[in-house]
């Protein structure tokens, strides 16, 4: 029987208080990794500590604002000091600020680019030193099918998500020789708080374009991340793994 074992790995999962991030944190933890999940509020960080604890996972929730370099550097140093060098980085934190481009405010554009794209520049850079020393590492960023297909009302979000792909390909080339892989997982429509904002009619229309005829579960994404984080994904780098029930086939 194949066994995925992440014992000894230290994983940092951003945006882990709910939804896909939570599923990733729990899945990596159950596979044996030490997991630090981050949230933007104390309440979220506490919730992460609680569910990790309840699942018997070593690790904790920490407060992190991925839009701030100081916050990122501080949290990564804290994880280093307490648990050791991060060997699995999962860039999951993200927000939406949907609007038609003609109505989009500068602030809506800037905040999406900063939180969804510049954040992975900050976290990846901060984790690289430890990974290079360890001569191993996995950087996995959660993008979106929208980055590949586009979506009206999401020019900012789609631009940031597509930007993650180019970033990851470049970084994969830079540090492949150090046994560090850099990949993207691009979820389709997953049943989370973010997609629960859609109306029932929108959900019906979307589902009709999905060959597997349903929204995905957060665990579907977590399993893809687990695969890439494990030794089974060792020879995959610079790749975007689409997990979307077939709605977009790249």
């Amino acid at each position: 029987m194949y066994q995925i074992d992440l014992t000894g790995e230290i994983a940092l999962v951003t945006g882990a208080s709910r939804g896909i991030g939570r599923a990733i944190a729990e899945t990596l933890g159950k596979a044996g990794a030490t997991v630090v999940g981050t949230a933007t509020t104390e309440k979220g960080a506490t919730a992460i500590s609680e569910y990790l604890n309840a699942a018997g996972v070593t690790g904790q929730g920490l407060l992190l604002d991925v839009a701030s370099s100081e916050s990122v550097d501080g949290v990564i140093k804290a994880v280093n000091d307490q648990f050791g060098a991060i060997t699995v980085l999962v860039n999951n934190a993200g927000i939406t600020r949907d609007n038609l481009l003609m109505r989009m405010k500068d602030e809506e554009w800037d905040s999406i680019l900063n939180t969804n794209l510049s954040s992975i520049y900050r976290t990846s850079k901060a984790c690289l030193r430890g990974m290079m020393k360890a001569k191993k590492g996995r950087i996995i960023s959660i993008a979106s099918v929208v980055g590949a297909t586009g979506n009206p009302g999401q020019a900012n979000y789609a631009a940031a998500k597509a930007g993650m792909v180019g970033f990851s390909k470049s970084l994969a080339r830079e540090i492949g020789s150090r046994n560090i892989t850099v990949n993207v997982v691009a979820p389709g429509f997953i049943d989370t708080d973010m997609t629960r904002e859609l109306s029932e009619e929108q959900r019906q229309i979307l589902s009709s374009n999905i060959p597997l005829t349903r929204f995905g579960q957060a665990t579907d994404i977590a399993n893809a991340v687990l695969f890439l984080a494990s030794s089974m994904g060792a020879y995959i780098t610079g790749e975007t793994l689409h997990v979307n029930g077939g709605m977009h086939m790249s």
Partner: protein, 80 residues
Amino acid sequence: MSDIESRVKAIIVEQLGVDEADVKNEASFIDDLGADSLDTVELVMALEEEFGIEIPDEEAEKITTVQAAIDYAKAAQAKA
């Protein structure tokens, strides 16, 4: 050879996987010792750890030869 010089050279030998005999003071990491740009970044990281110093990026970019690394390490130690 001073203590600092020998420590710097030992790091270069280890990081770049080159023969000690090739690590001449005037040698350039990239042109003479076969390093690529990522190797030089790692080398600076190793120097930082060996000497307990932090080398800012703009200074790190100037450390391109064995002598430059030795000079930087000596200056940093003198300040410490």
